[in-house]
């Protein structure tokens, strides 16, 4: 195990979450010297909406861009910034009106052009331009302008303090594209991107796969100073059906997949495979309320619903025991903002009935709820329906495809309740600005809450994590205590690979998505 790996692992352990490796059989050589020249085949469920990081809208895009892009600011699994793997060697966030980044020298894009401050300016300007239809645009509203101070110094001028800048630059907006390629390819750039990362996009076949090849001139090194990546070739196969993925893994057609929960038991017991776990890989099930739509404008009725749901039953039947009841808020395990001590609703039928009485509907009522179908969601919704029937609530499920459902609930005021899941958003400001703020896109009711708005603005403007923690705790107290958005189940993400595939312990990024830079198949 290299030094960097050990540090990362210990950091994860110290925070009480993050990656742990469950080796089916013990005994791993103390220092496995990486072998170069291998090929790795991965199967992944979601097709890229686009390979260009700022244009795609699919939740699965990160899997792809993480392999061929670098972030301006990279982060470890707990979302603490990690300059060793970032394009910015250092940064200065002391001035509330500006952010200065000192860029790494000698980095080149895959097309040979230089990565420098001008390139950063081009990228951010492009992101801010409405004509680009950039997905992360809303996260950059604090930015007034970008300045290339010199070749390797870039400065963002801010309209207001930007507390989440480092986290935001670890996500879509911080992935850098080659200005030359963007200009040359126009709309075709979306699927022929050129960046600075360890792999280069060699080929994209729609509906089938994306093939990457090694970036021979990549600047990154592992802990021993060996050049990264180890692999010569990487193929990410788009396989929408998890059953197919498992079959492919067993048949030896692919080397790495996420495991659907129903298969986890089989693979843990199987000595031919290693399994890696990430607790809190996402919020698998949550209740999203529209605070302006009756009867969910009534806080007691919201609390009644939140207390009537028993996540244990759902975890047992739907997740085969492989998920966690949510003990905190919308930022799950491993995020620095995670706080299980905040008072929040939990399963208690007696309390649920009390709240129904307090809410003036002891006899129950009928209500619509929006949901989107999936192997996990549909049975969960059915269980929820049955559990709510126990306190007299008749839930009418309105089923739509996921993007349509999201749009209908948050923009179309379709129903008072949405049964959905959420990606792992460890940066609390993302959720806070997008959901809890009065004008947030994911604030279904657009109800104006001055307390929350004030807290959110304060949190967004503060950079020091220790100062931000208490602010977001207060946010959670309101959001959870008043049942505005209540997560019920945190997911556990499982990845499996045959024993000869090394580097599995480092596969998870801070968003539980895969980094394949340090993987290599051991021959023989």
């Amino acid at each position: 195990m290299t030094e960097l790996d050990r540090r990362t692992l210990l950091k994860g352990a110290a925070l009480g979450a993050g990656s742990t490796v469950l080796l089916a059989r013990h005994g791993r050589a103390a220092a496995d010297k990486p072998q170069y020249g291998g090929k790795l085949r991965v199967a992944y469920q979601l097709a890229p909406g686009a390979l260009d990081p700022i244009v795609g809208r699919s939740g699965g895009d990160a899997y792809y861009w993480r392999q061929f892009c670098d972030q301006l600011v990279d982060a470890d699994s707990s979302l603490k910034p990690r300059p060793e793997t970032s394009l910015a060697e250092s940064w200065d966030v002391s001035d509330p009106k500006s952010v200065t980044l000192r860029l790494r020298k000698g980095v080149k894009f895959h097309d040979g052009t230089a990565f420098n401050a001008e390139a950063v300016k081009f990228n951010i300007d492009r992101l801010l331009d409405p004509a680009t239809k950039a997905t992360p645009r809303a996260a950059f509203t604090s930015v007034e302008s970008v300045e290339a101070v010199d070749e390797h110094l870039v400065r963002f001028r801010l309209k207001r303090p930007w507390g989440s800048v480092l986290s935001t630059l670890a996500d879509r907006g911080g992935a850098m594209n080659s200005p030359a390629a963007v200009k040359a390819l126009g709309p075709d750039y979306a699927f022929r991107p050129v960046s600075t990362g360890p792999f280069k996009v060699a080929e994209f076949v729609s509906g089938s796969h994306v093939r990457f090849v090694r970036n021979e001139t990549y600047w990154g090194r592992d802990g021993d100073g060996n050049p990264l990546p180890y692999l010569d070739e990487l193929v990410m196969n788009i396989v929408p059906d998890p059953t197919v993925q498992v079959a492919a893994l067993k048949a030896g057609d692919v080397d790495l997949i996420y495991l659907p929960v129903r298969e986890v038991g089989n693979f843990l017991d199987n000595p031919k495979y290693n399994v890696n776990t990430f607790e809190g890989g996402g919020v698998s099930f949550l209740l999203s309320y529209n605070l302006a739509k009756p009867p969910m404008d009534n806080i007691n009725l919201r609390l009644a619903i939140a207390h009537a749901i028993n996540p244990e039953g759902i975890i047992k039947a739907v997740y085969f025991g492989r998920a966690l009841p949510a003990k905190g808020g919308m930022w799950p395990n491993g995020a620095w903002a995670y706080d299980p001590t905040v008072p929040r609703p939990s399963y208690n039928l007696a309390k649920a009935r009390d709240y129904m009485r307090l809410g003036g509907r002891p006899g129950g009522f009928e209500m619509d709820a929006v949901m989107w179908p999936s192997e996990l969601n549909t049975p969960t919704a059915e269980i929820v329906r049955a559990q709510l029937a126990a306190i007299g609530i008749k839930l009418n499920l309105k089923v739509f495809e996921v993007t349509v459902a999201t749009e209908k609930f948050y923009y179309g005021s379709e129903a008072p309740l949405f049964l959905t899941s959420w990606s792992r958003y460890p940066e609390p400001d993302w959720n806070a600005s997008l959901i809890y703020r009065s004008d947030g896109y994911y604030n279904a009711g657009k109800v104006k809450d001055a307390r929350l708005d004030a807290l959110i603005d304060e949190g967004a403007a503060t950079v020091d994590i220790e100062k931000r923690k208490p602010i977001y705790r207060k946010v959670d107290e309101i959001v959870l205590g008043e049942a505005q958005m209540v997560p019920m189940i945190y997911g556990i993400t499982y990845a499996a690979a045959p024993r000869n595939v090394m580097g599995l312990d480092q596969v998870f990024g801070w968003d539980a998505k895969m980094y394949l830079h340090r993987m290599w198949p051991r021959k023989g």
Binding site: P242, T243, P260, R262, G313, K316, A317, V318, P373, E375, T378, P379, A381, E382, I383, R385, A386, A389, L397, K398, V399
Partner: protein, 287 residues
């Protein structure tokens, strides 16, 4: 047409018709008296008996949420019957009049109607249903409408074919010459004599409707949870194929038996009503 008493008698002596009618009777009874026949409430979840195979308590086992498969199967028969009757009903209500008008009016009206029928046939009915569901929302009504629309061309073409050939016959020509209005001609002479192939087609169409609803349910279109349909039961069962194959087998067998019943009944009716219609497929091809 053969007179009523010998017809029924003949029908009941045909083993295929007997099987078909018997199965239909069982399914219809299940659909009507579902509440009384189901051993469990379909939403009753027993978390201690998840994904069980056959047992004394649960004759056909339980599903992922501990619900009784037999009860869900019985309730599912309601949707199966509703879809088959509804879809064929739409086909009859729209297709037959269209076919008659097409044949009687002829000319450009005939052309337009037949072109529209062609256009409908081009669409796989599955995609029509998916598109309709996107526009109108997922529901029983949408599925019935979509499958009904898919049924219309067949009934229209058959009616038109029959009407066209019947027109040539003397007694119809005589009626027309005598000044009987076209409507009456249609009512009195053409329609009653066209019934044979139409009856056969509607019976077969009902089987087709059940198959299509199952396919739609499998890809997630149409009736939504928690209402159980045989198609959605298969959809939920498939990922668990290894863990509990019973769940994937049972609804399929139910669909198979019901559709078989419709098909055998249709075959028997066809043989009885007009043996020359055995080449019904070629009749379809010729239009």
């Amino acid at each position: 047409m053969p007179s009523a008493d010998t017809f029924l008698g003949q029908l009941l002596r045909s083993p295929r018709a007997l099987f078909g009618l018997a199965v239909l009777a069982v399914v219809v009874l299940c659909a009507i008296f579902a509440d009384a026949l189901m051993p469990y409430d379909t939403e009753e979840m027993d978390f201690d008996r998840l994904l069980e195979a056959t047992s004394a308590a649960h004759l056909l086992g339980t599903d992922q949420l501990g619900r009784d498969t037999l009860s869900r199967l019985i309730l599912g028969s309601q949707v199966a019957m509703q879809v088959s009757c509804g879809a064929v009903g739409i086909g009859v209500a729209i297709g037959i009049p269209l076919g008659l008008v097409s044949a009687m009016r002829g000319g450009w009206i005939d052309d337009i109607i037949m072109r529209v029928m062609d256009a409908i046939v081009v669409f796989p009915s599955l995609l029509v249903a998916v598109a309709l569901a996107a526009a109108l929302g997922n529901s029983l009504g949408t599925v019935i409408l979509a499958i009904g629309i898919a049924n219309v061309p067949w009934l229209a073409r058959i009616t038109r074919g029959q009407a066209l050939s019947l027109r040539e016959l003397d007694f119809v020509a005589a009626a027309e010459v005598a000044g009987t209005t076209r409507l009456r001609v249609m009512q009195r002479h053409i329609l009653p004599n066209s019934l044979a192939p139409l009856i056969v087609q509607t019976t077969l169409g009902m089987g087709y409707a059940v198959l299509t609803e199952a396919a739609l349910g499998f890809i997630g279109v149409g009736v939504q949870p928690p209402t159980p349909t045989w198609g959605t039961m298969l959809q939920q069962a498939f990922p668990l194929l290894e863990r509990q194959p019973m769940l994937s087998i049972v609804p399929g067998v139910a669909i198979f038996i019901l559709v078989l019943a419709f098909n055998l009944l249709g075959d028997a009716l066809r043989d009885l009503l007009d043996p020359r219609l055995r080449g019904l497929a070629s009749a379809r091809a010729a239009t």
